[in-house]
């Protein structure tokens, strides 16, 4: 597996890991900034997952928040109602999210619905999710949300330790992404994102690879969502809403560069900072999100990574 062409990738992974590992020092012990940095790690993991689903196999999932939320809510509700330990409920949540993603993908590919209907089905699902959470008040406490307690054994309970646990999850996701893309699967992804029909003619099982991408991506959403729920100590539908997850993650991936290794990371990092400036504006943040989405999708499809790479004449993975 380890060949020469992978060296830049490992180098990039190492640099990303080092920089992110040092960030808690840069926050200067401020709990607010440490929390923000932790949230950034979660969004970076989301962005990697979305990059696999949309960046590589062109499936426009608009239920990202709902996938993360399903996993988070399922794991938390099972702990509260049945008294199961988080070690059992979190994998269940992740499994649920991943099978949901696989289901949407399978149905849309099999029925030949095309990109637009994936978007419509998934946006409908994210509203179903939101309304279910509000409607099933007995289990979910509706808009008021619920308190969560961490994993036990001190995991995801202390702020600084949680940062490194979530960083480990992020780096593992990045590693997974790298191995996926440097294997035959990555080759198939590239082929089918260029031209599905030709890929099919070349003997690539398009359905299988698309469903696989959706499955892996949704599982990552599930993992990130469920661990964030435990870390945060509180979950509510607003944390997993369309605007706070789907739109933001979409912008992050577009900004950093779709289909690249470090693009989603850079995009998520930059946009977290932008978001901090936008937050005091209240509702006007939607205006900024909308403008970002339109401008990036129209004029900046390549993303920061490729643009920067051209400027310094270096191939950034």
């Amino acid at each position: 597996m380890i060949n020469k062409r992978s060296w830049p990738h490992y180098g990039a992974l190492l640099i990303v890991g080092l920089i992110l590992a040092l960030i808690p020092l840069a926050t200067g012990g401020s709990p607010y900034y440490l929390r923000l940095a932790t949230l950034m790690l979660v969004y970076m993991t989301y962005a990697i997952a979305f990059n696999i689903i949309f960046g590589h196999t062109k499936q426009l999932f608009l239920c990202l928040g709902a996938l993360a939320g399903c996993s988070a809510y399922l794991s938390v509700v099972l702990i509260r109602e049945l008294g199961l330990p988080p070690v059992v409920t979190m994998p269940l949540g992740v499994l649920f999210a991943s099978s949901l993603g696989a289901f949407f993908s399978y149905v849309s590919v099999r029925r030949g619905l095309g990109g637009i209907f994936v978007g419509v089905i998934t946006i409908a699902f994210s509203l179903v999710f939101y309304n279910l959470i509000l409607g099933l008040r007995v289990f979910t406490h509706g808009e008021d949300g619920m308190r969560t307690r961490g994993l036990g054994f001190g995991l995801l309970e202390h702020v600084l330790a949680s940062y490194y646990i979530l960083l480990a999850i992020l780096l593992l996701s990045l590693l997974l992404y790298h191995f996926l893309m440097s294997s035959r699967i990555g080759l198939a992804f590239r082929a089918l994102s260029d031209n599905e029909k030709i890929a099919e003619l070349a003997g690539i099982d398009v359905t299988r690879y698309k469903v696989f991408a959706a499955c892996i991506g949704s599982a990552l959403f599930g993992i990130a969502g469920a661990s964030y729920a435990q870390y945060n100590g509180f979950i509510s539908p607003a944390i997993f809403s369309l605007v706070s997850v789907d739109i933001v993650v979409f912008i992050m991936v577009l900004l950093g560069g779709m289909g690249t290794l470090v693009g989603p990371i850079i995009g998520a990092g930059v946009f977290t900072i932008v978001n901090e400036f936008v937050r005091p504006l209240g509702y006007l943040n939607l205006l900024v999100y909308g403008a970002f989405l339109v401008v990036l999708f129209l004029l900046f499809r390549e993303g920061l990574v490729v643009t920067l790479g051209k400027m310094v004449k270096l191939r950034i993975p």
């Binding site: 419509v120 089905i121 509203l127 179903v128 939607l286 999100y289 909308g290």
Partner: protein
Amino acid sequence: MISLIIDGIIFGLQLSLLAVGLTLIFGLGGVLNLAHGQLAVIAGISAAGLIGAGVNVPLAALLGVLIAGASGLVLDRSLMLMAYRYKGEARLLLGLVLTLGLSLAIEGYLNYSFPLVALSISLPILNVTLFGIVVRTTAISAALIAILTLLSLFLFLRGTFLGKAIRSIVQNEVGAELCGIDQASVRTLIFVLGALMAGLAGIAQGLTTSLDVRMGMELTILALIVATVGGVRSINGTLAAGILLGVVNVFASFYIGTYLTYIILLTTAGLTILLRPSGLLGYWT
């Protein structure tokens, strides 16, 4: 019971009015306009603002609708022009993302600038009795607006030369082009028409209940559901689906509750996409 059905039909007509614009724009332009509900909100909020400034109600409503139409024109000539450069799937995707972004931008701006403005029109006479059932005059006028608009749309599409040209593009883009129909200008016309109808739907919403700045996304999703259930290219289907879903909506929220109603509607849309992607009355194109 009967009053529930009537309520359902009236709500359904409004839904159809909203969704027909979406259907036409999708069938003709190949763009699913996710900012459609925001156009309704623009009409409603402008009308509410004008009424607040002392303009009389019918004139304010008319101006509101015209403002929605003008916004549609601007949208078609600016952002959508970028999408029209592409074909097929690429155009759909670009259109979807651009209108989603625009929808967010409009919602953000309106919520920031006019957070408390809402349109709620009341008429001098409150209720009338029809066949022994008390019906609100506002509901009747909303239904009348919807029926008249839809009727004139049908007559326009069936009877006039331009209407036939429009239907020919929906059926076969290349064939229509070969017959010498200028697609770009017809597309703009339909976009503006769709925006005007969305505006009327916004006014109708203000008549029956009330319309506030936060409802844009919800209206878009409702229109999307109706359009998919009815078949995104079929106008008759959209009308039927609107009335059907309107009745289902009223009954379900009366007997079951609002949240689950929403889920029923969304599941219907999901199932329709899965089982009959061309819609209930749809045809393959």
